[in-house]
Amino acid sequence: MAYDKFNILTSSAVPLPIENVDTDQIIPARFLKATERKGFGDNLFRDWRYNSDDTPKEQFVLNNPIYSGKILVGGKNFGSGSSREHAAWAVYDYGFRCVVSSFFADIFRGNCLNIGVLPVQVSPEFLDKIFKAIEADPKTELEINLPEQKITILATGESESFDINDYKKGNMLNGFDDIDYLLNIQKDIEKYAESTPL
């Protein structure tokens, strides 16, 4: 299924300066029972965001109205743990289109790329600058420029480049997905399959 195209995103950002944010925090397992991909944003960071009686925990960043935007900025090793793509769906469904961290867990990074959320890995120093810029001004904007593979803190002009492979970059820019690609080379796949016993 094709997804949203991603080109240049300029937005304020929501800071989550915690390390090792795992996918059980992003979306707890008890919310994985749906058979369709909808409504996961309501339970994003469920147990950090709500008390057991469903009242909001006021100190949690998503419940603080001064923070908003389409970019989520997390601490090192973001998205570790379970392979549940529901975590990436929850991030997307809540309204984020980009996650910035100094380090991502592999499966979460791949899941994001597969649904059109851009994971941007920056240096620990640059991540720190972003957190400080948001602390100074919660409305401060970041520019994520995918064609140039560059992230900029607009208020200070500080920027850093980020990596993404050409294939995935093309997919993100055009909103293509891997299955379209794979279906186009199905003959090659079938030929390979004939040569390999079950």
Partner: protein
């Protein structure tokens, strides 16, 4: 050119390489469960396509199934709906389905090896990060997201950049009461939960050579907890002995042909790894975790480390201890506990129940402990009965449940209540993993058994010593 074990298996499965992009990797066997597959099947429906190779696909129900009264309809309507969706999807696409009550039903990573679906040199994926378990057989096995489940259902391929290689050597002999779980928790405590991210691990050295297949599965299972996509062990006589004669393994001439291939599956002597680490087995003691990620583990006789001595953010570390209601510098031994969970794809096999029973035998469950003992499959359950382990458990005041993932991720009713402590043989101690507010101490079946009979964190070596003295 010399190659690693991983190179040999990966390279032979590349259908196509994309320059400055991923490889198109052919998947030999695809395991499917109820939680991460429905949206993928929906994707196929929307595209109007069928599963390309249903004979390479196997489906089971495990994640949100009850562990009591499985013969009755599932009460939770959302779980029931997901199970129904899997059954319908499997039927519509001619995929073998081992649902609740089926004699081959169980946790996906337990039943794959048990039925011979898992073989050396294969590529195996599943929408579950603990798919790394199957690497114990010298397969490349790893967890995938739902978009990738859809890719494999529709084209039998996924697109992945080739990971870097890491070799983890553990040499020497393990001490008393040190199990494969302790070896894995020890390695993760040294590398951290992100230390192997971007890598695919190979485990080598005396300790793994001398380990049983079930032990190797426990180790490979936990590869993901240090960030590695997967981990593998070169197949040897132990491997071939284990798989021979199982339902889906090759037979007759096919077996001979397969053996010819499998016997080439090892890292060449001069193969180079991107990273290599070596540990001495004698350094490892029975392990237990004290925090909220699997890297926060220590030898059971040690104290909780001080924030100033750890790598990483002190704020994150303190938040973690606060969640556990533990303090820096405290001893773990003697801490009261409320629950014990024996089970999961990490430690839900017959050897785990044997180990647990070895401590329980002749003792009684502590009154303050609620214990959930959940076999990984019906075959494990049958072995527990046949070997007389059930009698030992019953006599000590324990009850055996029916197979499933259970309290490992608490999708069903097996939830540890908020604030309670559980010594768990599972794989993750994340906040709320075993139920909202639950506090998890990861450990081996021996440590779990010692806690179950004493009601507190206890070094199993003490109890084993008592036995010797008696």
């Amino acid at each position: 050119m010399s190659k690693t074990l991983f190179d040999k298996v990966w390279d032979s499965h590349v259908v196509k390489h994309i320059e400055n992009g991923p490889d198109v990797l052919f998947i030999d066997r695809h395991l499917v469960h109820e939680v991460t597959s429905p949206v993928a099947f929906l994707g196929l429906k929307n595209r109007g396509i069928k599963v390309l190779y249903p004979e390479r696909t196997f489906a089971t129900a495990d994640h949100n199934t009850p562990t009591r009264n499985q013969h009755l309809p599932v009460k939770d309507p959302l779980s029931a709906n997901q199970l129904k969706a899997l059954e319908e999807n499997a039927n519509a696409h001619n995929i073998p389905y081992w649902g609740l009550g089926h004699k081959k039903n169980g946790i996906v990573h337990v039943i794959g090896p048990e039925n011979g679906i898992t073989v050396p040199g294969a590529t195996i994926v599943c929408g579950d990060s603990h798919t790394s378990t199957h690497g114990a057989f010298g397969a490349i096995a790893f967890g995938i997201g739902t978009s990738e489940v859809e890719m494999v259902l529709s084209t039998q391929c996924i697109m992945q950049p080739k990971p870097k290689s890491l070799r983890i050597n553990v040499n020497g002999e393990l001490s008393e009461a040190v199990t494969p779980k302790d070896v894995a928790l020890f390695i993760i405590s040294k590398l951290s939960t992100s230390g192997a991210t971007g890598y695919f691990a190979e485990y080598a050295g005396d300790v793994f050579k001398n380990m049983s297949m079930e032990g190797r599965m426990t180790v490979c299972n936990l590869s993901i907890e240090m960030g590695a996509r997967g981990g593998m062990i070169a197949p040897d006589e132990t491997t071939f002995e284990y798989i021979k004669g199982r339902e889906y393994t090759p037979k007759g001439k096919d077996w001979d042909a397969a053996m010819e291939y499998w016997s080439t599956l090892y890292s060449d002597d001069d193969a180079e790894f991107d990273k290599e680490v070596t540990f001495d087995a004698s350094e490892i003691e029975p392990m237990i975790t004290f925090g909220t990620n699997p890297g926060m583990g220590i030898g059971i006789s040690k104290d909780i480390p001080l924030a100033e001595t750890i790598d990483g953010s002190p704020a994150t570390y303190k938040k973690s201890l606060e969640y556990m209601d533990y303090s820096e510098g405290e001893a773990m031994v003697g801490k009261p506990i409320d629950f014990v969970f024996l089970g999961s794809c990490t430690n839900g096999r017959i050897e785990d129940f044997r180990a647990f029973a070895s401590i329980i035998k002749g003792r009684k469950k502590a009154d303050n402990v609620t214990a959930w003992l959940v076999p990984g499959s019906h075959k494990v359950e049958a072995a527990i009965r046949e070997e007389g382990i059930l009698d030992i458990l019953t006599e000590a005041g324990f009850e055996l449940r029916e197979p499933g993932c259970s309290a490992c991720l608490a999708m069903n009713d097996d939830k540890i209540p908020a604030g309670k402590y559980a010594v768990s043989t599972s794989n993750r101690n994340f906040e709320g993993r075993q139920g909202p507010g639950a506090r998890t101490l990861l450990a081996s079946p021996l440590v779990a058994a010692a806690a179950a009979v004493t009601g507190k964190v206890t070094d199993p070596r003490e109890l084993m010593q008592e036995e010797v003295l008696a």
